[in-house]
Amino acid sequence: MEIKAAVLVFPGTNGERDAYFALQRNNFSVDYIWHDFDKSLEYDLICLPGGASFGDYLRPGAFAKHSEVTKSVEKYVSKNRGLVIGIGNGFQVLTEAGILPGALALNESNSFICKYVLVEITNFETPFTNSIISDEKIFKFPIACRYGRYEVNEKDINENQIVLKYVQNPNGSYENIAGIVNKDMNVFGTMLHIERAAHPLFGYGENNPIFESIRRFLSRE
């Protein structure tokens, strides 16, 4: 069964080709969607990739929330049409748009951080993690951002929405949170560049655990 994924491209986005490559390698069929797209999104998976939409001016993701396609994503989510993931800037867009709770603030160090971190998967009961075929709970992924510090009001997030936690907090994120889902568990956002774990040449396994889980989840339906 063909699983269709869309990679959204905002002005300034620069991780779209990385997301495309990773999704393709994980057997999705992929299209790019430019940000002025205001029709309904007929895809099984929507990916908001990393980068710096609108130059990250004002705040990362702050302007992308006004793009037509973001409204389309909102509808897509409320209709429960499929799954949505936001990576890095994509996560920032989702929080700015209120599709995911919380916000991403300036790193504690006041500077950009690009490095590998270890994260623990804390909830295996989401579409993004429930088919991970590994006994491992700890994974290595890269981060690359200046605004990666996750902040949220305690009351806006439930424990089971927290999917990934840093083993060692790199940026001051609340409760070591590295990735979350919404209450309906059809939207996932993370500051980890999971799409960069796309090939053994980059020091990862043949398959990406998260994309693999998404694909399994979607093909089961």
Partner: protein
């Protein structure tokens, strides 16, 4: 009479000499008007006109004036690359200076029709403990991070060194690499008359007016001179410009492309037309401007960032405008090429003519050549006796690891996104060079950037050769075959005999090394007037080199891989302690520069390089690291630290043998089962080798027989080196 006095005075104020002014009058056969003098002052500045370097650069075996960047072919791809400096702007405003430096070199690559895929940089700063230097350092690094990361081009490698010669003249050299399909390269040459010159990108403001002539002056004097209005980078506009340009260049009606760099509209339009043996006509009212009160000459000279010039066939305007609208950037037809070889600037079409100049006079700045004599400092330096280094090996090693030139640059490269684009196969800190995968193939592009101001100061000719060979060794170390060179020649005041001599000898060294290694110089840049109060920096040629990796699965880094692997020194075996002049440890420990420097033996080197590549190709070795700054012990320690292993063996018995620098050496590690194979191969190829020791667990430390170092102690000094200095000298 009065008027022509004023024009001459203006010319002098703008940095032209009396002689040059007379030359202009003579060539034109008339007095230039005020507007035209502005044009000449920029186009004939050192930065645009290459007045003091043209004569020498012509000797390089390359057609250097033709295009925005050079290239090599790998498979059915073309790899385009160039290095460029932004030294003066970085001294005045480090963040924006570095940021706009990135923007500029990226547009050079883009102008060739290639997608920019990776960045490297070579940075030079004074003593980091000085508040001023400290600020410049932090500013430059965050400028590169802020701009490079935002446009989504990874910064994958680089080099940084700290020396007091750069206290007032930091160097920011940035290199960019792009890839295009073989038949898709774009030219900057106008291919016929009556084609439209199209302006694409951000609006024009008064930014960097005088930038070109500013880069052609030295600091110190005339401190009060009006600062050029600083160029501010807009990475979002750049990203839009990149995507728009790549789309525009797919259109057949697009004939040529040129970035607007130094002397912006003026030099891009004039050079594009001139290269096609044509003239051009520009209409000033068509140029998108940011503020109403900008003067005509400011528009021409402005170095506002994020702008490109295209030459297109009539009729394709709408198609191109649509792309610009999509990316929210300006589009405007600003003029056209004409048959008459004149450079004409009009207020508006059919309007007042502001300038009408024979284009070849405008574009061809005079060429200066000096009969250089060898400065006495050269002999004096060589004659200086290399001092005794007292103190234990332990204390010397710790000092080196804690010196920012040798300590880890992690604090820097963690601020660069080195992975966006997912082509980066070697991340910073893991090897002597980096590699970019050509997705869809087994091949990769290897890249490195290198310099050594101590070597090139002691002996510009041999020093430059050493640097080029070291760049080659860096590529060899990861398994790449060196293909071509780009160079950035950072020098002091070229009107000074010593500097002029250094420049000439550097070019000669560059030519000889590039010929020997079969790596032509395909692009480059010259930066003069890096001086302060009449003191010039050490001559600093920076060499960028690109190589090819046949099979990505064979890529190697410098990390040791497993306990009990054996470690060999391949190549030259005994440090000639008579020839360790220019070694970094002498500068760090004794503040000494002088003495006899080791030089490369081309035949031996080339043999050695071939041998190392063979070892890698046959998967005999598991890691390779070239021996360079800091000598043999430092190379071994670095491999240990970055791989979390210890060492046990013997390297040498005194400070000179352990830290002295000679040419032509590699450290390799090999599994015990393969060591005999390695030895046999080396013998059959007549390559010298010596077993230094073996890899052990890090808990056992780094044991060199005469001394045993605690792994964690060394590792901490190495990784905390820069953060510690910044912390201790917070400002």
């Amino acid at each position: 009479m009065n008027n022509s006095m004023n024009i001459l005075q203006l010319a002098l104020n703008l940095g032209l000499s009396n002689l040059e002014y007379n030359l202009i009058v003579e060539r034109l056969g008339r007095e230039p008007n005020e507007f035209e003098i502005y044009l000449f002052s920029a186009q004939w500045s050192e930065h645009c006109g290459y007045k003091h370097s043209k004569y020498y650069l012509k000797k390089l075996n390359t057609s250097f004036e033709s295009e925005n960047a050079g290239y090599v072919e790998i498979g059915d791809k073309v790899v385009v690359f160039k290095v460029e400096s932004h030294n003066h702007p970085s001294a005045v405003e480090p963040y924006q200076g570095a940021a706009t430096g990135i923007g500029g070199i990226v547009r050079d690559i883009l102008a060739m029709g290639a997608r920019p895929l990776a960045l490297l940089n070579s940075l030079k700063f004074g003593e980091l403990t000085k508040p001023k230097v400290n600020k410049i350092f932090k500013g430059v690094v965050s400028g590169i991070s802020g701009y490079g990361n935002t446009i989504g081009i990874p910064t994958i490698a680089g080099e940084i060194s700290f020396h007091d010669t750069y206290n007032n003249n930091p160097l920011t050299n940035v290199m960019c690499i792009g890839v295009a399909d073989k038949n898709k390269l774009m030219s900057s040459r106008a291919d016929g008359p009556d084609k439209l010159m199209v302006y694409v990108g951000s609006k024009t403001g008064p930014d960097g007016v005088h930038g070109a002539s500013f880069a052609s002056k030295e600091f110190g004097k005339e401190e009060s001179i009006e600062r050029p209005s600083i160029q501010v980078g807009d990475p979002f506009a750049e990203k839009n410009l990149i995507e728009a340009s790549l789309e525009i260049m797919q259109i057949k009606a697009v004939k040529a492309c040129q970035d607007m760099g130094a002397a912006g509209i003026l030099s891009s339009t004039s050079e594009m037309a001139y290269k096609g043996n044509l003239g051009c006509e520009l209409y000033l009212d068509k140029i998108p401007i940011r503020q109403e009160d900008i003067k005509p000459w400011e528009i021409m000279l402005s170095e506002s960032q994020e702008r490109m010039l295209f030459l297109i066939e009539k009729g394709s305007e709408e198609q191109i405008k649509k792309i610009c609208d999509k990316y929210t950037i300006e589009f405007s037809v600003i003029g056209k090429t004409i048959k008459t070889p004149s450079y004409r600037v009009l207020e508006k079409e059919e309007g007042k003519v502001l300038a009408d100049l024979p284009i070849e006079i405008l574009v061809n700045a005079p060429e200066y050549y000096r009969n250089n004599t060898v400065p006495s400092s050269y002999y004096i330096n060589r004659g200086r006796k290399i001092p005794e280094v007292e103190g234990s090996i332990d204390s010397v090693l710790k000092k080196l690891l804690g010196h920012p030139t040798l300590g880890s640059k992690r604090w820097v490269y963690e601020q660069y996104d080195y992975q966006v684009g997912t082509n980066t196969l070697i991340v910073p800190g893991d090897a002597d060079s980096s590699a970019m995968w050509l997705k869809g193939t087994q091949k990769a592009i290897a890249v490195t950037i290198d310099s050594n101001e101590l070597y090139t100061y002691l002996d510009p000719y041999e020093g430059t050769k050493n640097v080029v060979y070291e760049a080659a060794r860096n590529l060899i170390s990861i398994g790449a075959k060196p293909l071509a060179i780009t160079d950035n020649l950072n020098f002091g005041n070229p009107e000074n005999n010593e500097v002029s001599w250094q420049f000439e000898r550097t070019i000669e060294g560059l030519i000889s090394a590039s010929v020997e290694l079969c790596t032509p110089v395909v692009s480059g840049n010259v930066s003069f007037y890096n001086s302060y109060n009449d003191v010039s920096i050490y001559p600093t040629p920076v060499i960028g080199m690109v190589g090819e990796i046949e099979d990505v699965d064979k890529l190697l880094n410098m990390k040791f891989k497993s306990v009990d692997d054996e470690i060999y020194l391949i190549g030259k075996q005994q440090i000639n302690v008579e020839k360790i002049g220019g070694s970094l440890f002498l500068y760090i420990i004794k503040d000494f520069i002088g003495g006899e420097m080791d030089t490369v033996n081309p035949l031996r080197e080339i043999q050695l390089n071939k041998f190392i590549l063979e070892l890698i190709d046959n998967r005999v070795v598991k890691s390779v690291h070239d021996v360079s700054k800091g000598g043999i012990l430092f190379a071994v320690v670095e491999s240990c630290i970055c791989s979390d292993f210890g060492f046990e063996g013997y390297i040498g018995s005194n400070v000179e043998e352990l830290f002295g620098e000679n040419q032509g050496m590699f450290i390799v590690s090999v599994s015990p089962t393969d060591s005999s194979k390695l030895e046999e191969l080396a013998k059959s190829k007549n390559i010298e080798f010596r077993k230094l020791g073996k890899v052990v667990r890090k808990e056992k430390g780094i044991n060199i027989g005469i001394e045993n170092f605690d792994f964690n102690v060394l590792s901490n000094i190495y990784f905390n080196c820069i953060p510690k200095i910044l912390e201790d000298h917070l400002c």
